[in-house]
Symmetry: C2
Subunit: 209 residues, 2 copies
DNA sequence: CTCATTTTTGAGAAATCCCTCATTTATGGG
DNA sequence: CCCATAAATGAGGGATTTCTCAAAAATGAG
């Protein structure tokens, strides 16, 4: 049986923790199917094969649950990104690898994508968490003299927007690595690199062959 | 009395047309105040000073109405853009002026912004309509040899994403012309222009002094 | 002005969903 | 295994919203 992310975290825990995890997994799944706004409490409990009232033993309302689910997913993604980024020093390469990995992870766990994207609008802390990675890599690049930009919140938002579109497009049309590459090139262009240089960095960063 | 956009279109029309327009104006206003998801039929009819049941004489459901409202707004914006763009031949300048004008229009009619942005996700045709302008200007630029890009749907989506973020940011934090300028520069960078050239074009295009 | 037709009205039926709580069931330490 | 405690259950009350429809009002062509 394929356990969801939260239930995997909860093996060995007490009953309380395990049903809580089941609810969170169910929430993620339901959001992926129906979106955040259309989500009903009963959808979640049904998907988790639990009774309706059980929900209220664990969460006070829908938003609390969604926030926790989104934060849990964001944390898991952060962990994976951390692992993949150790030892990379060149800022443009970091940006490209982090972007591509992030998109890869989210598209591999398709259920995660929905809650990350839907959550992005509502759960502001989420957006900030993921953006923190980006910010530090951008700062690195500015300090290295490789990015010709003013580093501010607006810049982050613009880049995040490019990433989000890349994910939603591939959610709709199916995965396509070329779009991810194109998005990375575009981000580097936006950061002030020439088209030629952007292409070169993306190619070497994403084709270690 | 300040008539809304749809009622203005409907002066001189029959009663049916006029109450329909009143409902659409009310819908736009309510979406601006409460968002698309939280919108109730009764909100719309109340705002339009009509009875609840009247709604069903004109629309079968909420989405049909929202789609029509969004399309009407998109058409109005297209008209205004058409008027402002006549005679501009240089592709980069066209892109910059159209982008800046679009953002200006939407932020000036704040009620429009909400339905355009909320609609963008749900009403796909909308996205395409507005994007058609962009597409033709991009084609022009590619033909003129000024843009170093492959013109496809993904490119359009990336650029639209940058514009959308610029609008939402200014809706949240208040209008700031500098952000619009920055967004235009970023779009030109994305299209393959150097940072210096991008800045120069934006400056001359948006400061006719 | 007249009146057949169109349009609006608003009360209430139907549907949906949230949330409570008395009861049943499961848990796990001793 | 026992049993005090923790957790799950799900029927039902309540709140909200959608949608219907018979009756009332408005319209505008002749």
């Amino acid at each position: 049986m394929q356990l969801g992310h939260f239930r995997e975290q909860a093996v060995g825990g007490g009953k309380r923790e395990r049903t809580r995890a089941a609810l969170l997994d169910a929430a993620v799944k339901v959001v992926a199917e129906k979106g955040m706004e259309a989500l009903k409490i009963s959808d979640v409990t049904t998907a988790a094969e639990l009774a309706n009232g059980t929900f209220y033993n664990h969460f006070t309302d829908k938003n609390e649950m969604l926030r926790e689910a989104a934060n849990g997913i964001a944390l898991a993604i952060s962990r994976q990104l951390d692992a993949e980024m150790v030892g990379i020093k060149d800022a443009p390469t970091r940006v490209v690898k982090a972007t591509a990995s992030f998109i890869d992870i989210v598209l591999r766990e398709l259920d995660w994508a929905a809650i990350m994207l839907a959550g992005a609008a509502h759960v502001h802390q989420l957006n900030d968490d993921v953006a923190a990675y980006l910010r530090s890599d951008l700062k690195l690049g500015v300090d290295q003299g490789k990015f010709d930009v003013k580093l501010d919140r607006f810049l982050i938002q613009q880049i995040v927007a490019l990433i989000v579109v890349t994910i939603t497009t591939q959610m709709a049309d199916g995965p396509d690595r070329r779009l991810t590459h194109q998005a990375c090139e575009n981000i580097l262009r936006l950061l002030g690199l020439s088209p030629a240089k952007a292409r070169k960095i993306v190619t070497t960063a994403l084709h270690p062959s």
